[in-house]
């Protein structure tokens, strides 16, 4: 990460603007035990209370790191029922990182956030249909499969 990903200027700019960057050695206790760290790099998105919302294990290339962080921020907001903030992050990811492998999951999660925000179950069906149309038998299309019946 230090040799390839973090030196990228767009990565540094994104991280400095969008998250608080915290770096801890994998042997530092009690944090490593608290977060059950068994391998490095372990890249987590946590909130201001220390609650974990996303974990990525292993090297992440520069072009994949920004979408991964965006998804993690969105998941944090979704978990905290900050639905509009979650949708903003998921839509930012889909708009600016359309080729990212993270997009199908964020389409699924956008459907969840919209459903929670409006109570309209058709939002879940729309997410399924969009996933099927764009990604065919993607794992996230399969997870949304029951919503086709709504």
């Amino acid at each position: 990460m230090d040799a390839v990903t973090y030196p990228q200027e767009d990565v540094a700019r994104f991280i400095n603007q969008n998250v608080v960057a915290l770096r801890v050695g994998s042997g530092e206790q009690p944090m490593a035990a608290d977060y059950n760290i068994t391998w490095t790099p372990s890249l987590l998105i946590i909130d201001a209370d220390g609650k974990e919302h996303q974990r990525t294990l292993g090297f992440v290339a520069a072009e994949d790191l920004i979408p991964a962080i965006l998804k993690g921020i969105g998941k944090m907001h979704l978990n905290r029922s900050e639905l509009l903030e979650a949708l903003d992050r998921f839509e930012e990811l889909q708009l600016h990182h359309a080729g990212s492998a993270e997009v199908p999951e964020t389409i699924y999660l956008s459907g969840v956030a919209r459903y929670k925000n409006t109570g309209d179950a058709q939002e879940l069906k729309r997410a399924y249909e969009l996933l099927r149309e764009r990604y065919g038998e993607n794992p996230w299309t399969k997870r949304a499969y029951p919503y086709r019946l709504l």
Binding site: R13, V19, V20, A21, L22, V24, L44, A48
Partner: protein, 33 residues
């Protein structure tokens, strides 16, 4: 000059800043060796 990530190394400081700025924390557990 290349822009660098402004890392914090103290959890308490990171939590305080995340709360003040309403941001998530990107926590990198790295191998220091």
């Amino acid at each position: 000059m290349t822009k660098q990530i402004e890392w914090i190394t103290d959890m308490g400081q990171a939590m305080e800043r995340a709360r003040a700025e309403n941001k998530a924390i990107f926590l990198d557990f790295f191998n220091p060796q």
